[in-house]
Symmetry: C6
Subunit: 252 residues, 6 copies
């Protein structure tokens, strides 16, 4: 229906604006943290920038796939290219895990190992999920979904057990924030498989499509912009501890 | 009528220009305040930037929904997408409250708690108001409007009671400005529910639409650009106190 | 006639270029004045930037309203949106007065009071003038014009009496320039009501339209770009006095 | 003919590229001269930027006025808007004289007086020349051309007599360049009235048009980009004298 | 089929986003490494920027060559310009080898010799491969492919034998990374000839095309963005050794 | 044929990308050389920027002049504007010689004299060559080509005899590079008259056109981007000698 069409349409526009605003915020914030944390903010901003680009394209593709005149929605025959989402995830999900690792400032080799392992697992998870997403029958969907869950569980395990030690070594003032970052990641990521299962329900086609798009969109905002802001806060706090509180000097 | 059409059209163009100008002003102003206040200005500028983006889209959508030839207005069949407004609010209203909290420079934990609580209440208020805005009958409108008023009252309460203490701790030179900021917020925000009630009147459809658009537009300018300028002034004044008056040095 | 059409067309293009050039000049100039005067230049540049934006739109609207083929002008039926002018003034006229007050560097409270009062009076003047401008009969035109003159006279009074004292306190080297700025404001502003009265004459419709457009355009250039350059000169001179002449150092 | 059409077309494209390149050069050069000379370079760059903008429009207008298919030129009925040229001059000619005065670094009051007088004379010269340019008969052309020559002669007089004294006070190393700048101004400006007289010849219409466009274009390049480069060289040389040769320091 | 069409389409969009993001990352990273390594990062970023430009064009060309309506793919008659790929390689492959040489910071003359030799060999390899790529029969394809392999083998030889010595002189902390960079280059480059041989298989035309495009695309990402990130890591690590670990200073 | 069409098409796209990349490289490089060499890099970058602009236009003009559908090339009737090339040369060839003179850092007066003489000779050479290029018969072509050769020989003479002395005064470390720059200029410039003579051959029209375009394009890349990189290398090397090797300091 037109209401559903506009709901999704506006959600895409909203997400575009959010991602763009988050990018500006994170990149302007680079000058407010110590050198060691700039890369984390660079990457957080890249994640939201890439997402803004893809939501722009999703938004355009949605507008081209349907036409609304006098409140009636018709299909134009041009496909709505849903794959932009997976294309986006393939690029941003590894980066999200890398930014999480970077902000912890582990030893060099640990950083490298964790970032590589988590990054690869994340890419695998997305690649395995895609064939299911575009499948027409629910069996195929379930099969690939299950396969995709294996790397997903590995990531969750690493986040909670593998990085648990690392979190204990964080300065006490930042530990709470890092834990929040871990939880926000866990919670928002856990939301994706749930949305993925919407087509198993007995909703109508249009309702399923709407629920899917909105669900993924909400999760994206939390997982990208939300995490980005947290990373920024952790970086600011740790900078103040490690580089010393910026003493008030006369402005220049 | 054509006069109404152009009144709204010009109001949108005006607001776009105002928001864009405010963004430039606030971001150029970042270099004139102390480090601790830069985030507040970054966010104030983001709010007006986001609003400029949305007014641009609203403006285009308005231009596409109607056609004026030889002074006669006809409907093109393309819907005027009023939802951009709520999409905008969902993003900017929490940010507005956050910028108000930031400029007070409370303790870290207080900042976090207040910002979160006020931000969430604001988002809730907007979400609850939207179903009423697009409702066709006034009963539904009233129902959601009432629900939306609950978080609204909570925000008002927090602003006046919860933050009252914080305001007392502001340096005496800035206290007046902070109070003005609080009042301007209260006054402009109180205007929204009033505009919301315009459809209860017995104006014609076109008149109602016009009043609604103009009302929300005026309120947006005060609440976003107006507050932004105030935040800028508070930040400048507090910077001078805390970082020391910038002594005149030979320019470089 | 085609000559009249092109005269106005070229005047709009000219003004767009002038305003854009003035914006670049004023914003590049920010680095050449002391900190205390940067806000004045930021705002002067915003005024010309906003004007450039509006002249761009006026120019496009003019081009869309008429078509010239083989030297013959026909009306396309799309309205020439003259209101952009008032939309522009509503935003820039208060800013112009504020930049005048800022460059004087009064005490903080005086700055605030004067800027607010003059700004509001200016906005009122524009709002009251608009209904007259779009009126079809000259009676209505005269009525609103007269109402609009009241805040106008108040502004003139404030400029000459209220700010007279402030000007006496300016450093002697800058006093002449400040007086010139006041006079240029007075002279250019006084031109607007005169242009406003053109429709009372017995010119043909096209001639009236042409005279109106050209008159307002010339006045806009003087009042915005002209004043901006003066503000820049005052800011440079006062910076040299207060911050010390920039001694020649080896360039870096 | 097509050859004439393309000759003018390519001349416009060439001039656009030259003006744009000169702008980049002059503005990048600002960091290489002393503070006192930056305004001169800012303005030189503005002059070429404004010219680039106008040549862009002239180029587009030329392309829209004619159509070439299979080597045959036809008129589209859209007028070639030659007035862009005068619009451009009205803005840039005064600026050119001002940049010449600025680079001499006279006393403040002399700078002001000379800049104002020369600027106004230049504007008057252009305004008086325009009615002749668009006149259809050669009598009118001659009349306005003669009137326009009066301020022209005044400018020449000022350049050679009025500024002669000022040139004598220039540091000896820069005096040659300043004289060259004066001569280049004189020579290129003297070219304009000659081009203006082309229509008195008995060339065909198309040949006249071509000669006119090319003539003005060549003169514009010399008078704007050529003078700009000279101003840059003077500014560099005088900076080295007054601010001291930049000693070679290890690069950072 | 539509699935194949979209697979390639999305792969191009993905690669565009990746290359653009890598460019931003590498250029922002310039400020985080010592002066001697900035050129390496400048070039790495240029490589990805050039690739982003070409993937944009490839993407557009792909979209223009086919049309998909209601899930059915038709050919539009406009050729898919595959040559953008070779055009891109001709420019970027030499640059890739140069960036590898630069990051090793050999003596000046060694740098020059190696960069020139490797660069020329790379260009030759691409030029010889192109006639085979566009050949219709597999014989011609094989012939040029074989010729192209000669410079390819020379490059491999240089990388492993010629540069082996240089790698031994790298600081021990960076040696591993440099070796990885060499291997990643070798592995990703070895992939290209394999993809080149796809048409020898007995896949259908569409399948061959798809495999070819995807294969080259994956290889491009690894060889350009992947190597770029490695270069960045080497540059950061060597900067820390040679310029001293950046000690934590209070942020400004 | 389509193959020829695409060969030229891709060569234009390649050159555009190369020139744009060279511009970025040369302008980013400005911060890596001493002050005295910045102007040389500014100009080198301007040359490639201007070339990028013209190749963009040439590319568009080529695309508009022909249409390819299903592998068959047809002429659209719009002329391919080859003159962009000469327009470009007229601007860039003098600049190329000037950048060569500048990087030698001769005495001021020598710099001025050489730059002027060589610049004028170069412009003359181009202007004289153009009538021959567009001539239909080979006689005219030969005539103008011969005339154009006179200033060409003068430039060659100046480069080898006139500047020979200057080269001997270069620091020994840079002498080789300067000689290379001279040779590269000579070799690439010598290529232009050869390409110019292609139409004397008995190739078919299309083959001639293709050879001409490709020939000039290759020469342009070497003469502009190639020389630019050399200039950059000379500037870096001479900066290190004259300003002292940049000692490794802790990065900020
Ligand atoms: C486990 C699982 C999935 C997980 C997806 C996740 C966890 C996506 C996370 C995306 C993020 C974080 C994007 C924002 O940047 C799929 C693919 C839906 C398929 C079903 C099984
Ligand atoms: C109480 C209430 C409302 C309040 C809206 C407000 C308070 C909006 C504020 C918007 C701002 C500040 C936007 C500018 O950024 C609604 C939703 C109209 C619904 C009716 C009840
Ligand atoms: C008194 C008066 C008027 C005054 C207008 C003025 C004073 C406008 C100034 C505009 C400026 C300064 C714009 C440039 O930024 C109106 C409205 C014509 C209506 C008639 C009475
Ligand atoms: C004396 C004279 C003229 C002089 C024009 C001049 C001197 C123009 C200079 C233009 C410049 C310098 C433009 C570049 O920026 C006209 C108007 C042709 C009319 C005939 C008499
Ligand atoms: C040996 C060989 C080839 C090698 C191609 C290579 C090695 C390409 C590398 C491209 C890169 C690195 C691009 C990314 O920037 C060809 C031409 C396929 C033809 C068959 C033989
Ligand atoms: C001698 C000669 C010619 C020389 C052209 C040259 C030397 C052009 C150089 C162009 C460059 C360097 C462009 C790149 O920026 C022409 C005109 C073909 C005509 C035939 C005789």
């Amino acid at each position: 229906t037109a209401a559903q069409y506009f709901f999704v349409y506006n959600a895409f526009s909203f997400t575009f604006a959010t991602m763009a605003a988050a990018t500006v915020f994170l990149w302007l914030g680079r000058s407010q943290v110590g050198r060691a944390y700039r890369t984390a903010l660079t990457i957080s901003g890249l994640v939201t920038a890439i997402a803004a680009y893809h939501y722009w394209r999703i938004f355009e593709s949605w507008g081209a796939a349907f036409e609304v005149r006098d409140g009636i929605v018709t299909v134009t025959g041009l496909a709505f290219n849903d794959a932009y989402r997976y294309v986006d995830w393939l690029l941003t999900v590894p980066l999200l895990l890398i930014e999480l690792v970077l902000v912890m400032r582990l030893s060099r080799s640990e950083t490298f190992t964790k970032a590589t392992r988590l990054g690869l697992a994340a890419a695998l998870m997305i690649v395995l999920g895609y064939p299911g997403e575009i499948a027409d029958d629910n069996g195929t969907r379930a099969l690939w979904g299950t396969l995709s869950t294996i790397p997903f569980l590995y990531i969750v395990y690493e986040l909670f057990v593998g990085l648990g030690d690392a979190i204990k070594r964080q300065p006490v003032e930042a530990r709470g924030l890092v834990k929040t970052a871990r939880w926000i990641t866990f919670a928002s990521w856990g939301f994706y498989p749930i949305v993925y299962m919407v087509p198993y329900t007995s909703f109508s086609g249009a309702a399923t499509e709407t629920a899917l798009q909105i669900g993924y969109t909400v999760a994206d905002i939390v997982a990208k912009a939300g995490l980005g802001v947290l990373i920024y806060m952790i970086a600011v706090r740790k900078s103040e501890i490690e580089y010393g509180e910026a003493e008030p000097v006369a402005m220049r």
